[in-house]
Amino acid sequence: MTTIPRISAAVMRDRMVERARRERVPLQADIEIIATCNFKCVHCYIAPCAEREDVMSLAQANIVFDKLQAAGTQMVLLTGGEVFTHKQFKEIYLSAKRHGFEVYINTNAYLIGERWADFLAEWPPKGLSISLYGMSPESYERLTGIPKSYERVMHAIDLLLERGLLFDLKCPAMTITAEELPAMQAFARSKGIRFRTDYSIIPQEKGDTGPLQLQLAPHEVMSLERRIDPELKSFRVYAAPRIDGSTTDSVYKCGAGKTSLHINVHGGVSTCSTSRKVIGNLFEQPFDEVWAALGGKVSMKYPAGHPCASCQFSRICAGCPATVEQLTGLPTGYVQMYCKMTHQRAHELGYHPSGVPRTVTEGIPAHIVTPTRSAARMLPVLA
């Protein structure tokens, strides 16, 4: 009888994920503990809409932790806003750890000095994800609106590295970061840190579409991807198992609402951090009730004639139900910009002859919802 079996963590995780998928267990939860931020980033969709009271207290966080623990959650991401500006961050973080969760943190790292770095070294998170916004003080401050933000973040990165903490760097690809993204990636590589980027910009939570003017057009996305990865190796690896000629009418192909969920500062539950459409409230409702409602949402199918239902590239789509929902109002909407990005990628990888989606030549069926007028006005018009 072996009481601590010698199995690798990867094997155990695979086993957990597989069972969570099969039994629809919320293995992962993103918890927004504060909506406000010390940065004033021009692309942000949360903090510009936040009020001072948009904060989850320790007592409220514990309500959420207790419910998630009972539901089987293992991984918890504490996110914001900026979590280190939360007056009870330390207590919330330690409570999450003591609930037995593997805890991840999203941060801009501006407030991580010696003391926070020492604290994190003593109580390490499973993962730390730092937003990087440029490779010079000028570009950093242009985006964040905060003096010395570049120097402070670079110092924080050094402090965390000195203490052997695990973290990655990420930056949204947009008009004002595109030029420096390859340098950011090179910087991360030089430090042995993983770097990732994302190409979708969404409107602010309360509807302001201003951030969309920063969205890169499909051809700019392709050009940037080529600069970051000339052979498109990582995307090729990602795409290969996801393009097999089959199609699906399932709208949600990710783990949102199946093995993961998002909880906002007021206990509101949505599919993921990108989706701001709350479907229930964990402060007020039993977990099972909210989880069932979320399950109903993510089991939705595309309406007949929807272009995505017959698209063999839907599993590598540049958009997702949450970004589409933010632009059109519905997860079942259609955003041609994402479609163009996806088809151009498929073309570059040799999966599509022209890179031009069918809807460009045949049009979008009239019954399919497209971006709202205000969103459409801000999105790039060039292919």
Partner: protein
């Protein structure tokens, strides 16, 4: 004090630097302080039961008796398993011990 080697005249208690979870069928020990080391360990059901008993100071004999009482297992076999488990917890720095040592 930390346990050195397992001793049946000594009482043992789990330390609070790990948290036990049962989730999606896995009995997990989650490390509170691990960094690049593996922060998760799997327990068998038996290991999980022993871990629960180790919330209180307890001896090798008491842990062995608890297994014999619950499973069709000989005392010698149960004692070997308990001893191995306590050794593993010691290696993980997850165990306190007190009392005389041989």
């Amino acid at each position: 004090m930390n346990s050195g080697s397992v001793d049946n005249t000594v009482e043992y208690r789990r330390r609070d630097n790990y948290v036990y979870r049962l989730t999606v069928g896995e009995h997990l020990l989650v490390a509170l302080h691990a960094r690049s080391d593996e922060p998760l360990y799997a327990l068998t059901l038996t290991g999980a039961q022993l871990w629960e008993r180790l919330a209180q100071w307890t001896t090798l004999d008491q842990l062995t008796e608890s297994l014999v009482g619950e499973y069709e297992v000989t005392s010698d076999s149960a004692r070997r398993d308990v001893r191995e488990f306590l050794d593993q917890l010691t290696l993980l720095d997850a165990l306190d011990a007190r009392g005389a040592t041989e």
